[in-house]
Symmetry: C2
Subunit: 369 residues, 2 copies
């Protein structure tokens, strides 16, 4: 069978599904693209078994086809051809021929019988979210998803549909982030836990316009223009995060986000040893930020202006975690809500943006000194 595709068009399509190809896998068949032609439509699929990406393109072809073809090789070759018309020929000899005005290229393909089945999701239940809001929700929460499997569910991002809007929650036990957008209220309450990898891939694909999301009890499918992302949900129940959020943190510390962040970033250089900690010595109008690297004999101390209501307090944090949290506020001013040096601390924007509610929680560490 024969068909023609412009190399740039095909390159673009392949580049969009390529992120689902695993870099290492014990299952060689998923190092391939599933390459299907059905009723004049080319459909290319990639999967690492956790997520699948599918994209399609109308082409002029008489027959149907279902093969697998080495993903990176095929992509690299198509990309190397520049901008030209590719004349494809697929006969029954396990070689796909690509002919251009420059030359002829043959790529070995295989039968698709061993390619895993991508679960079909019932598209009954769907929601639509503005791409910008989805992107922001992910950008502000994803960093706090746990990297280690303490509990399966914490390896994912909690996605809640509630009458108060959508909520995204991530935690690794040391910090917790909750982002709520009230623009989209839902009649019922539903919770889904999306694996970190699916969210990471998704965040790079989100367009500015609306994104259609389909949800089943096992999978999430996101439709983005001609691309479909299908990811398996984490089935384990997400921990009851509300129970760890303190209600009575009566001491409030108002501080400029950028000033505190740049001080904490410098403290990273002074806290590279085992106890990676930074100390905040808080008084009515000043936070003394300090760190000490005993092994290397280095230390640092800076002062940042603040407005603090409460008893003077010395509190320690993991420097990296505090830096992470501070780096994920867009707002110029934030408020720390504190109770004591050993209880969870809450960070919020001084003024929440319209329709939003952002909260970060950070566990302190016991100070060495």
């Amino acid at each position: 069978m024969k068909f023609n595709i412009n190399s740039k068009t095909l390159e673009k399509l392949l580049a969009r599904v390529l992120p689902a190809i695993p870099t290492r896998t014990p299952l060689p068949v998923i190092e391939n693209f599933l390459f299907e032609i059905e009723e004049g439509k080319l459909v290319v699929t990639a999967t690492d078994l956790e997520i699948a990406l599918t994209s399609s393109l109308s082409i002029d072809a008489d027959e149907n086809l279902r093969i697998v073809i080495p993903a990176r090789l095929f992509y690299d070759i198509v990309k190397s051809l520049g901008d030209t018309q590719i004349h494809f020929e697929v006969d029954h000899n396990s070689k796909m021929k690509l002919k251009t005005d420059k030359g002829e290229y043959f790529i070995g393909y295989s039968d698709a019988s061993e390619y895993p089945v991508i679960p079909v999701v019932d598209k009954g239940k769907s929601i639509e979210i503005n791409g910008k809001i989805l992107k922001k929700a992910i950008d502000q929460t994803l960093f706090a998803v746990s990297k280690e499997a303490m509990r399966q569910a914490m390896l994912g991002l909690l996605f809640e549909l509630t009458p108060e809007g959508i909520k995204f929650v991530a935690t690794d036990g040391h910090r917790l982030v909750k982002y709520q957008n009230k623009t989209f209220p839902f009649a019922t309450e539903d919770k889904y836990v999306i694996p970190e990898r699916a969210v990471t891939v998704l965040s790079k694909l989100i367009p500015e316009g609306d994104v259609k999301i389909y949800l089943s009890s096992t999978n999430i499918v996101v439709d983005i223009d001609d691309l479909e992302l299908n990811a398996r949900l984490i089935s384990e129940k997400y921990p009851d995060y509300n129970s760890v959020i303190p209600i009575e943190n009566e001491n409030t510390l108002k501080v400029n986000t950028g000033e505190l962040r740049s001080a904490v970033r410098r403290m990273l250089l002074f806290s590279t040893s085992n106890y990676q900690q930074v100390k905040l010595a808080i008084t009515a109008d000043n936070v003394e930020v300090s760190a000490e690297d005993i092994d290397r004999g280095s230390s640092a101390k800076e002062n940042v202006n603040c407005e603090y209501i409460g008893e003077p307090m010395d509190i320690g944090f993991n420097t990296g975690y505090l830096n992470d949290v501070l780096s994920h506020f867009e707002e110029d001013e934030i408020v720390f809500k504190l109770h004591s040096p050993i209880k969870a601390c809450i960070l919020e924007p001084r003024e929440q943006k319209e329709n939003e509610d952002l909260m970060m929680l950070l566990m302190p560490v016991r100070l060495n000194t």
Copy 2:
């Protein structure tokens, strides 16, 4: 003692000598900068024992100082301070104090007694080379320096001073590059072998203007503005490369560099298995460029226009080496001088640039088929 330095000025100075700090070393002391103040001049030195970089700066200081200080930590801290005045205080407590308008930072330092001695080079014999010419000579030859220690001398770049100008030669036994610039004739003949690492570091530092080079029997010193590069020369004699350059390669193939290069680059994708080879089937007006990856069942064939004088010939090359060589010609058209499929092939620009003589030699490989 006390002195002040602007953080940006110091950052720039440290950044210039930092490339000589080794990433891994069994000798911890050379992970430090040698930090010296002498007669109102700050001199900072870094070395990996193979090369040393030294830069200096006039400062206002009453006393002299000679200490070592952790290189990367010190550089990172100075860089993190942004643009500000740093007030240094060095007392005899092994801590250097840096004070800015933001805060105070302490960095542990040590006595410099264990820091290696940088060889002093007799600055009697010096030459001056235009920076642009030196940069070009290095860019066109460095890639061919051997990466493995077959012979010690081949791990370096040969730098020849002759009555016909300066010559740079590199070879790894599979390919050889010789670049000659006739602008600088020398009365005597001298040969120096500069280690690959010294040339790599040097190539990133060369300014547009003239560069002063001092040569002794053991070291090369290059003066670049306020920076001095001092490198140990390789003492082993460089192999007699002239004996491997064939004189009678009577068949000439003229071809467009870019066209052949882009064909060969695509062939890289089709020659990833053990025999990484590309075949050139040369006739009077056409080169058929082809490659085959038997393991993966892929193959490719392209045609490139040419002007060939000689008997039709099939010749094979290592695809990566041919690509390297083609990538280092700036000229639009090149000439292959061939004798047979088993003898060294010479590549030259169709027209040499004024005062230049560039020659690349490539050993063919025996074709599989």
